[in-house]
Amino acid sequence: MDRSATSPSALTGVARGNGDAVFATIVRCAAVLILLGLGGMVAVMAWGARGAFATFGPAFIVDKAWNPVTQHFGAAAPVFGTLVTALLAIVLAVPLAFGIAVWLTEIASARIAGVIGTLIQLLAAVPSIIFGMWGFAVLVPFMAHYVEPFASHTLGRVPGIGPLFRGAPYGTGFLTGGMILAVMITPFISAVMRDVFLSMPAVLKESAYGLGMTRWEVVRRIILPCSRTSVVGGIMLGLGRALGETMAITFVIGNANHIGWSLFSPGNTIASLIALEFPESAMGSLKFSSLMAAGFLLMLISLGTLVCSRLLLRTRAAGR
């Protein structure tokens, strides 16, 4: 179809050919703009980070210090915080998202699932700063007064995992950050899962039900095996979002340059570090460059995750 459209007819060949050529050039330029956008982001980050990488070398990534007084910077703590909160978010969000997707596709009637599905997607539209304020006003006190004291008295005494749940109950910290992120990414993951579950051939499920399988057995043994790749892709998509999240985390993470076992202890993430410290760092200073270097690391981590996610989700689209 497209071929025939490009070949100009004999009647108005010249004029038409020009119009089409101009139009094709314009849309191609717009497409190149997209590539320049992402490529430019990576290049500018790398350029801004050159000072920090030249001064500290590769050790920047594993250095725990962040000391503006001695001009000594390292990204270990924010990288640690970014990974810990994002992984916590995934651990908490995946079961929730899976439960919601199963509920929407297998349990609820189509009409109710439509309404509830829309409500869940509205949660994805709420801006991240609102999650931050809600987290600070509701979740932090709740964690500090109930969850953390209780957990440190019970789970904190269990050998092996005990150290994870000990520490002063500030309310802010890695666990609270992970929980906020989990609430934020659950709608994204469940939307992907729901679409995949719905795209399954109905005859597969129907035959399984016909053989007498229970609903859970159908989900566990028919739906999940068929949709594994895309489900993992959806989870990676959520992980990518969680890694780069800024405003919500800044409110509840506690903002301390800290690495430790306790999930209750305050920490920071790359994004929250940039949001807080960038306005106070002079252009061209070592701190500025170190923040750019941290941003560059965040870029690499989140792009890597997103590339994996897109590849996993694409294999399915191509395979169908």
């Binding site: 101009v22 982001m41 079961p95 439960g99 609903r215």
Partner: protein
């Protein structure tokens, strides 16, 4: 275990044998597992809905008190002197408006490219689509850093335009996605009819395909508007915020999200109250756009 073996067998070889009847005990176990799993799915859905309602409830409880006339007509003032959010509201409108004006045309063109030029440049198109999808979920604070480096540093000052540019980078991938999807839904016969009538290709695309897909495309632009109007991180280092009345895109400009961010962390009660009011306003606006769009889509599908 007997029950589980039966199930595995059923999935691999779908021939129901007499063994399928099973014994009463494993049957009961299977039903129990099913009940528990179903219950957990209910619990997950209810829990997440509760989160949504908790957020809305807290927003309304803390924010509704500030919905007074003065909030909408007065600019932000130092703590203790009253004041409103007028400059932040107007600043947000200007910046998101500019962002959509800049980002939507680019997104439209790229969406057209992805949907209509597959016959000639398929490989490059796949790459562009991939990159656009990456941009869709790229950390928005890094977009802010990028614009800071390429706009704020060379021009020497923060500006509303820089903020709008940062937001427009988030608008583009959303519009690209919806435009491409919607153009692909336009039936082939429509294009063929237009081409048969002798229309050049660019006219077919712009005046036939895009026109047929305009509801969906407009939806995409609205969703993009909704998405960027709550973004804070890209504005922190680009438009910076402004305590005074500012409508010039060349100067630092206030915006609702940034004002909320500054006020929410403050120790002054009137500031935090205003932050909640701003948060309520912005969430109400965004949810309203989303609900309208979804209702509209639902109607069109029928």
């Amino acid at each position: 275990m007997a029950g589980r073996d039966n199930v595995t067998q059923a999935t691999t070889a779908p021939c129901a044998s007499a063994r399928w009847q099973g014994n009463g005990l494993s049957d009961m176990r299977r039903r129990m597992v099913d009940r528990v799993a179903t219950g957990l799915c209910w619990a997950a859905t209810v829990l997440v809905l509760l989160m949504l309602f908790s957020i809305l409830f807290v927003l309304v409880r803390n924010g509704v008190g500030g919905l007074r006339w003065i909030t909408f007509v007065h600019v932000t003032l130092p703590p203790g002197q009253g004041g409103g959010l007028a400059n932040a509201i107007v600043g947000s409108l200007i910046q998101t408006g500019l962002a959509v004006l800049i980002g939507a045309p680019v997104g439209l063109l790229v969406g057209i490219y992805l949907a209509e030029f597959t016959a000639t440049d398929n490989r490059f198109i796949n790459m562009v689509r991939f990159i656009s999808d990456l941009l869709l979920s790229a950390p928005s604070i890094l977009v802010g850093l990028f614009i800071y480096m390429i706009v704020v540093v060379p021009t020497g000052h923060f500006s509303g335009l820089a903020g709008a540019l940062a937001l427009s980078m988030l608008v583009v991938p959303v519009v690209v996605r919806t435009t491409e999807d919607m153009l692909r839904l336009v039936p082939l016969s429509m294009r063929e009819a237009a081409i048969a009538l002798g229309a050049p290709r660019w006219r077919v695309i712009l005046f036939v395909c895009l026109r047929a897909a305009r509801d969906g495309v407009a939806t995409g632009i609205l969703l993009a508007l909704a998405r960027v109007s709550g973004e804070t991180a890209p504005l922190l280092f680009t438009s910076l915020g402004n305590m005074n009345w500012s409508v010039s895109p060349a100067a630092p400009m206030a915006s609702l999200p940034v004002t909320i961010y500054q006020y929410a962390g403050a120790a002054y009660e009137d500031w935090t109250a205003l932050a909640w009011t701003g948060a309520l306003l912005i969430t109400a606006g965004i949810l309203m756009i989303n609900i309208t769009v979804r209702l509209g889509l639902g109607r069109n599908r029928k």
